[in-house]
Symmetry: C2
Subunit: 391 residues, 2 copies
Amino acid sequence: MNIAILGFGTIGSGVYEIIQHAATDEVKNLHVTHILIRKGKDKTLPIMCDDIQTIFDDPQVDLIVETIGGIEPAHTHIMNAIQAKKHVVTANKAVVAKYLKDFNAAAVNNDVHFYYEASTGGGIPWIQGLEKALRIDAVDCIHGIFNGTSNYILDHMYRYQATFDDVLKDAQHLGYAEADPSADIDGFDISNKIRISASIAYNHPITDQFPIFGIRNILKEDVQFFSSKGFVVKLIAKTKRKGNTYDCIVEPMLFGKNQIEANIQENYNLISLHGDTIGELKFYGQGAGKLATANAVIQDIIDISENKSHRQCSFNNTMQYDSTLCNHDYILRCNPSLQSLFKELEYEPIAHSYFHIKHVEATKMHAILKEILECDPTAFMASIYEEEQSC
Amino acid sequence: MNIAILGFGTIGSGVYEIIQHAATDEVKNLHVTHILIRKGKDKTLPIMCDDIQTIFDDPQVDLIVETIGGIEPAHTHIMNAIQAKKHVVTANKAVVAKYLKDFNAAAVNNDVHFYYEASTGGGIPWIQGLEKALRIDAVDCIHGIFNGTSNYILDHMYRYQATFDDVLKDAQHLGYAEADPSADIDGFDISNKIRISASIAYNHPITDQFPIFGIRNILKEDVQFFSSKGFVVKLIAKTKRKGNTYDCIVEPMLFGKNQIEANIQENYNLISLHGDTIGELKFYGQGAGKLATANAVIQDIIDISENKSHRQCSFNNTMQYDSTLCNHDYILRCNPSLQSLFKELEYEPIAHSYFHIKHVEATKMHAILKEILECDPTAFMASIYEEEQSC
């Protein structure tokens, strides 16, 4: 099977490296014939080129790996590749979250495959694990630590009593966090991942219209306060289904110290699903990183080269967003003078500037937090995970 | 696809139930046409029969699910089924551990499939997860909590300060443990599971010639002593590879309280692998139980019905058993008068009748324990898990 790689950054070069070095029969069948690099960049390998049309026009190219990232030109390249009757494998969560249904329909129409295991959970065989579960079960809940950067930050703040800024610098130094870390710490990265997961689980394309709150405001003191109450905080994306309705949420969540989620260290990910007959399944591994993510890309390539189709989704199911499905208790930190903003809720003060809010719809709590943040931009909140409420 | 189920106990009836009730297209394609029950038993369903030859002779039967358990007649039935050109799916770890290579060769010769996802890790997609990892990586280490009964016992002893006997009775009452619990608590069940896993990982059939020590002797006081040192004890099966040599071991192992293994509760399983490029992957779920195990059986059936072959193993690799690969520190409890039996080892007493043995080959430590048990049949030991040493 002949492969063209678009982009030669971390993941693209990882894919190339594994294909050059892995010793298994499956990988030995794979050949990288083209690597697309940006115009003007040095062609350090003879197979590098800067004209994508050459790749689309080459009848020898069977499959295109998209590792450029972002929405454009990735979206256009993927569509053009599919229309040129090339299989496409991508690690790009943003473009998959937005265009999954379109890509899928185009692939079906052009009789090629479009796979994206690496887009969600990095090296973790999550997408296929979910697809397999759906062959038998309805999946009614998914939640997880889907982002390595934020987990690294929260884990180091917890275990080493460090400040957010110090750990973020450390993570940037180690290459775990970008120079602009917004996507990771504000929850947009994991919102894409839960959209992709929920779209598959519900066979319905999930939009980005759900509440998202990240960890930018977390203080060392918050982590210590939660710990004193027996909790560890993690940034979680979650979706829940009831019949033909679903809910999605991204927010910091508190886990008891002996729950598995509380013990996920460094930049590892953990993703859970709940199905009718399988019960609870959890998948743990490297959610990012060069070789682990490249491994997931190559798993998709091998499936295509061995003609092992993934589960077919039409994304034509009718599902309604219902903001009332996710209900939690919250611990909120804000200036005590702002209590009037949540006086309609059942709550009690549990320490200076910390409030325990009882059983409230996530959407409602996020709306109130938005008002609070306008007056106290340092405010922070985390929901309390309860096994009975969640999956 | 027409299916005959051999045996109608927990798993067999679970397979039947899911096929009758699941609403997915994949399962709707499956039809149970025969259920083999023991001669003399009531035929409560019209598709029940007690003559296996009818099943082998029926050209309509495509696939046979073996859920009888044990070595014979399961072994003969599976071989006869394969020779009758029927695909076979089994949940039977004992027969798979012993005859994996033979079954596999017979299936290849008869152009049918022989799959056994449910034999190891119950509902956890472990076998296929391992097979997928091997498409790209060499896997150099596998370890896990492979047995729900022993985990239930150890977890309840730890969290509720209970005695072994009380928890065992409780587990038997809940149906988590057999009336004769030896296979679970003495480590034989998980020795079959690590043999199956290692056979796949190394493409070499693994015999049962490696040290096995279970949890029959564990006292409430041991659990409390380990806890006071920061540890939680779990029954672990582990295999390690170095080039063309491998080691296997089954023994109680001590994990730091914030390691994931330490926080696996109730009767859940957790299985880990380490590969070159994927790094560490862990799979968590129900390692036993009617519907979860039946789910794994049906996953295999769907793969066969959709012609999605699993990774082909010849089991023809040449691997040598090397008892020196697994080295651990141990905590040993025995009558202090028996110190002469391990005086050659580096050790220190750490409490009355507890000794910390430093860095010793697992095989050697198990041999010494055997001598100790002859004089003090209540003795117990557990190794200390170290991430650097293990996977």
